[in-house]
């Protein structure tokens, strides 16, 4: 009877895991890819010390380690599905052990098939369902729940009270590194009540709870400071439903970023044009679409097809948050302004949980190689070489670095008057263009300047800029320029 129930439960759990893995991997591939990019893990003392300040330290460290493998959405979804499956299994086992006998001896299933005995363990499906739906893409929260049920099951299978007490006390320091204090408190309270029912010396069972109360201040003083508000009541989990707008918008933006990183501009244009709902989507879509047009050198042709009002919609005002930071990096990368792309990549890394991230380091390696900053590229490669999933990247970039050392011919000055963000966009673009010899880079910069003047309706500046660098001299003007030029001519002819 029990065996049949087990088989049915395991089948249901497996089906749930498969459903979760297939759905998330296909619906949110770029969210997983971005999670890997935002992650950082390196087996060094400094990194471990950093994690000690981020409770629960061990779980966060483990989550960071596992997220290194998220570059493939299917691997990522499988890891999360396995964690959810293990949580469900442990919950099932714990609930099976719950049924009345708290001394740890497994109670045999009632021969009469008592429905409580058979139905209660099925509640073990609830944690993975809730976690999968509300804590998707939050591996740390999923692992915390896994460890919660692991410690609960560990407690339940211990045969006698003394051993249970020792286990419960041991749960405090171990559990403190594995889960947030309220979750650990809940675990200890459950353990307390389970023993309270049967143990005549139940009072002694307050020990683990007292120990838990003392742990955060002691840890804070001796190991790593924990802000006062995070010591006892902070669960550290913000539930976001899998199908929420937040996740969908997140996936959309991450798709834009990833397609840009991969240079898939046509795909990006397609995605950007069909997105019409959320306001955020429109703002982001417009900018990415214009960026794609610039990358494809079609911006001067298609500018007027977009609902752009002014030059400020070409990029975001500089700020250190996900959308703006990523976009502005891509904007300057498209222009070949590697120092500014580096600036945004580094800023993006700083604002991540670990103060650095893989995507940022990889990008900075590429940009520093382009700008001839060999030592810094080498430093980042040495760090990436210590991680688990960058062997190929490091090998390729080392070869590129050696090649670049032989062929680098940029004449870079100590100082210049090409400050970024210091002038209105068209002026910045024209100033920058003077420092770049590459024709395609110059043309993109010049196009941004001319397009800005069109949007301003500034005929004089348009005329001057369109003559700059001889890029459009004696050539047929692109559509947007021609229309604006015709409009100027027409207005000049009017009496």
């Amino acid at each position: 009877m029990m065996r049949r129930h087990n088989i049915i439960f395991y089948s249901a759990l497996l089906a749930l895991m498969l459903l979760f893995a297939i759905y998330t991997a296909t619906k949110f591939p770029y969210t997983y890819i971005t999670m890997e990019g935002d992650d950082f893990w390196v087996p060094t003392k400094d990194f471990w010390q950093l994690k000690l300040g981020m409770l629960p330290a061990l779980t966060n460290w483990l989550a960071d380690f596992l997220m290194q493998f998220y570059r493939s959405p299917f691997v990522a979804a499988t890891i999360e599905a396995l964690v959810l499956g293990a949580t469900g299994l442990l919950a099932y086992l714990a609930l099976s052990n719950f049924k009345g006998d708290t001394s740890g001896k497994r109670k045999k299933a009632s021969p009469k098939g008592d429905w409580v005995v058979t139905a209660l363990p099925w509640l073990g499906l609830i944690p993975p369902i809730l976690l999968g739906y509300y804590c998707t893409f939050n591996l740390s929260a999923q692992l915390q729940c896994l460890f919660f049920f692991a410690l609960l099951e560990g407690f339940l299978i211990i045969p006698n009270s003394k051993a249970k007490l020792i286990f419960s006390i041991a749960c405090v320091p171990i559990g403190f590194l594995l889960m947030r204090t309220p979750m650990l408190g809940l675990l200890l309270v459950i353990q307390y009540f389970l023993i309270y029912i049967t143990d005549k010396y139940a009072i002694i069972w307050n020990c683990p709870l007292i120990l838990l109360a003392a742990t955060p201040p002691v840890y804070s003083q001796q190991v790593a400071f924990i802000p006062f508000g995070h010591r006892y009541l902070d669960w550290g989990i913000q539930p976001v439903s899998l199908t929420s707008k937040y996740n969908q918008n997140g996936e959309y933006i991450k798709t834009m970023v990833c397609l840009s990183n991969e240079g898939r501009w046509e795909d990006l244009l397609y995605k950007a044009r069909v997105k019409k709902d959320a306001k955020l989507g429109k703002e982001v879509s417009l900018r990415y679409a214009l960026l794609a047009e610039s990358a494809l050198s079609t911006l001067p042709e298609n500018l007027l097809d977009y609902p752009i009002r002014d030059e400020n919609q070409f990029l975001f005002p500089h700020q250190s948050e996900y959308v703006a930071s990523q976009f502005n990096r891509l904007f300057y990368l498209n222009l070949g302004v590697y120092d500014e792309a580096f600036h945004h990549a580094e800023e993006y890394g700083f604002i991540q949980t670990n103060g650095n991230c893989f995507s940022s380091l990889r990008q900075m390696v590429d940009y520093t190689i382009e700008e001839g900053d060999w030592e810094i590229a080498d430093k980042y490669l040495q760090i990436l070489a210590k991680t688990s999933c960058h062997k190929t990247f490091v090998k390729e970039r080392r070869a590129k670095l050696e090649e670049a050392k032989k062929t680098f011919n940029k004449d870079i000055q100590l100082r210049a008057d090409n400050f970024v963000g210091g002038y209105p966009l068209p002026i910045e673009m024209l100033r920058l263009a003077r420092y770049y010899q590459d024709e395609s880079q110059r043309k993109k910069m010049l196009d941004y300047a001319i397009c800005s003047y069109i949007l301003r309706g500034d005929a004089n500046s348009f005329m001057i800029a369109s003559q700059a660098f001889d890029i459009y001299k004696d050539k047929e003007l692109p559509k947007a320029y021609k229309e604006f030029f015709d409009a100027i001519s027409a207005s000049n002819k009017q009496p």
Partner: protein
């Protein structure tokens, strides 16, 4: 029988792995060790100079002092020497001879390199240092803090981390007379302010409220422990689209103010708080009679960086009233060129170490900036080239006996500052050495930059909770 064979095999493996290897070749070149400790001069009380040999699979080092005592260590990719044995070796010695053998692709059978010397100075160094660790770049950070390190060993502990002040910035720490009980730093962000600890008692001070909106930035204690001189800076950053310097940091305005701790008021001299000049990086002479600082005529920044040149001046300081006297120009940027910042006077009052760049402010962001030294008696420059590299050097501090200078350098990668120490024997500087780490690679792996290093005689003892409460409760 099988079991026996297995144990014999295990024993053999153990013996082979523990035994000392013999290098098959001798090479007449010095080993390429990291960090470069070849020919450096170190204090007797410094922690072990652990090092690595890049690309090596196995390293052995034999360290011998001039009394013939030796220390032998080996390692896979770096050498870690025991602290106690190292100190015993250095005690009373004048020099060490280090012989390194390494096994690598070039020398798979091992090569013994030409031995090198490490000189040991009799003058001790202050055992503790305090410094800030922060991301090296631009506007953002997630983690930063002010830390203290015992340089006789490898113990590091935080004085304050920004997890204690709502992830705001923590900066501008300084100590009075190298005393960890007299300490100040600034915390920005929510409930921020200037924390002043005198005789071990802490208080939060609102410098801004006492000085018509001027907050306290770079600061220095007066030796009497009654005053702290601050520069108040409106600091901005601009980013080059393409240049070697990458970033220009500058003040739109900056002033000089003096905080009187006893009377809890800020003293302001109109000459140094008007908009006609920029003032920054104050520094008292060790006798407390002079206040040195950098000053320049403001220009349109960042466009006119080339025209911004800071000079170093000094004014007499009246300890009883806190009043400042007539200006005496020590280094004239107009006459001598460049931009001179961060004057730090030797404890005997004789020399001034400062940083000199081509133009602009904040020399740490200027690749070309170097440390320079001036004899204050003759106003002649003293050679200090050995301290410098093609990249920026700055944020220097003297040890309490005036024999050691600590400073930050960008020499290794142009971006992440690292700490260097150099011996000053009264006449010349000796080859500097990088702050030793137990695993030398920590200097590479660390994605943080050091700044504002200061010597202290003992560690700062402060309760983390007590400190955090200043930023939690108003």
């Amino acid at each position: 029988m099988k079991e026996k064979c297995f144990y014999i095999f295990c024993l053999a493996v153990l013996l082979v792995s523990c035994s000392k290897r013999e290098a098959k070749e001798s090479v007449d070149t010095l080993p390429a060790i990291y960090p470069d400790y070849i020919g450096v001069t170190v204090p007797e009380n410094i922690c072990p100079l652990d090092f690595s040999v890049p690309e090596a699979e196995h390293i052995q080092a034999l360290v011998e002092n001039d009394r013939g005592e030796t220390l032998e260590e080996s390692g896979a990719d770096h050498i870690e020497m025991p602290v106690k044995a190292w100190h015993n070796l250095l005690q009373g010695a004048q020099e060490l001879t280090v012989t390194v053998s390494a096994w690598n692709k070039e020398h798979p059978e091992g090569a013994t390199y030409k031995p090198f010397k490490i000189n040991i100075a009799k003058d001790e160094i202050d055992p503790w240092i305090a410094y800030r660790l922060l991301p090296p770049g631009y506007e953002s950070w997630n983690h930063m803090g002010i830390y203290q390190r015992n340089i006789e060993c490898f113990d590091v502990e935080p004085i304050i981390e920004n997890s204690q002040n709502n992830h705001g910035c923590v900066n501008c720490h300084s100590f009075a007379n190298y005393d960890p009980k007299d300490f100040t730093f600034h915390a920005r962000g929510e409930n921020g302010g200037t924390i002043v600890m005198r005789d071990g008692k802490m208080k939060k001070v609102d410098i801004k409220a006492m000085s018509n909106g001027r907050h306290g930035s770079y600061n220095i204690w007066h030796p009497s422990k009654r005053y702290i001189a601050f520069s108040s800076n409106s600091t901005h950053q601009s980013f080059y689209g393409q240049s070697k310097n990458k970033i220009e940091v500058y003040d739109l305005w900056s002033d000089l103010i003096v905080y009187d701790i006893d009377n809890e008021k800020v003293l302001q001299d109109e000459r140094f708080t008007d908009s006609l000049n920029l003032e920054m990086f104050p520094s008292f002479s060790p006798d407390g009679k002079w206040l040195y600082f950098s000053t320049a005529k403001p220009v349109n920044m960042p466009m006119e960086t080339d025209k911004l040149h800071y000079s170093i001046v000094r004014v007499p300081f009246d300890e009883t009233t806190g009043k400042l006297g007539e200006i005496d120009t020590v280094y004239s940027a107009h006459e001598q060129g460049g931009t001179a910042m961060m004057p730090r006077i030797t404890p005997d009052g004789r020399f001034m170490l400062f940083s000199l760049g081509e133009c602009g402010g904040y020399n740490l962001y200027h690749m070309e900036s170097d440390l320079k030294m001036m004899d204050l008696e003759t106003r002649e420059m003293v050679p200090a080239e050995v301290l410098n590299s093609p990249r920026a050097e700055s944020f220097h501090a003297w040890s309490s006996n005036g024999r050691w200078v600590m400073y930050v350098t960008k020499r290794y990668d142009g971006r992440y500052t690292r700490l260097m120490f150099a011996y000053w024997d009264g006449e010349k500087f000796h080859k500097p050495f990088l702050l030793p780490q137990k695993n030398p690679e920590d200097n590479i792996q660390l994605l943080m930059a050091y700044n504002v290093p200061e010597f202290i005689k003992a560690p700062v003892v402060v309760s983390k909770d007590e400190l955090a409460k200043f930023f939690t409760h108003e």
